[in-house]
């Protein structure tokens, strides 16, 4: 693909995000299944719903600015999910430690998304696309909130339970 203008780069980043969100929607159910902490499980279920809405927002952005959002593969997210899946489903043998591993894997996902939504909100602002900016800012705020929720749950009990087990 030929990227010549900042708008081209913006569209490429949106396509990349679209692929990333789709990969998360595909990967989360297995993570939810693997979780034994009920608060963590509920938080992940909520985030799966949120991610579906984030995907729809990106499709809306494509319609508003008249470009195709589908058809790209986000290699970054592919690697992050591959690694998280291996850790959670193969490497970890204790339930309580697995919950801590799930939090760790998903915080990588969240931070990665925070970076990309940070980039596209900046570009949307520069391009003067205020309505698009509003949609992307909503998703960025949700990702930050999802990351903070994971930290809160980990600190509240997941990490302590992991510490107490297996020793």
């Amino acid at each position: 693909m030929d990227i010549v203008t900042l708008r081209d780069l913006f569209e490429e980043q949106i396509r990349d995000l679209h692929s990333g969100e789709k990969q998360i929607i595909d990967a989360l159910p297995e993570m939810i299944e693997a979780t034994t902490d009920s608060e963590l499980q509920n938080a992940l279920r909520n985030h799966l719903e949120e991610t579906r809405e984030q995907l729809e927002r990106l499709e809306k952005v494509g319609k508003m600015l008249d470009f195709r959002v589908k058809g790209e593969t986000c290699d970054g997210m592919k690697g992050i999910i591959k690694e998280g899946n291996k850790l959670v489903t193969k490497d970890v043998e204790e339930d309580e430690v697995r919950d801590a591993a799930i939090v760790a894997a998903l915080q990588r996902v969240e931070h990665y998304e925070i970076a990309v939504y940070g980039t596209v909100t900046t570009f949307a602002r520069m391009l003067g696309e205020d309505q698009v900016l509003k949609l992307l800012q909503t998703s960025l705020d949700e990702e930050k909130e999802a990351d903070a929720t994971l930290t809160r749950i980990a600190e509240a009990h997941v990490n302590r339970r992991a510490m107490a087990s297996g020793d």
Copy 2:
């Protein structure tokens, strides 16, 4: 690998980080070469030096806690770098837009690392490894600072130059 305790998970995350830092050290020179903005280029040179020190800190952690930090491949970082390289060296055709793409690609790297250093500092604190915690906290602070520097440079001129070019 069998992960049974939180300490096992901590060691696995450190090995993953070690692989990630090594991959960044290998990838940054090409990014520096591709940059046309001198302030961005200087910032990346500084960060390459910093990354070498972060790698050494991880090796120190391995020595202090008596475990091997080498021998793992961080698939997440591998995907992020693959994607960034493709974007910067193949897809983007305009110098000024490429600088904006480099910032975008590296902020994905930084945020990903912020997530992992966040996890390992939390684990080090729980495990009561205060000296190790101090080393990891130094690297975490540096990553946050590197991300903030990229934002500052992008907002100061890289993005504006990208906006003005190619249209």
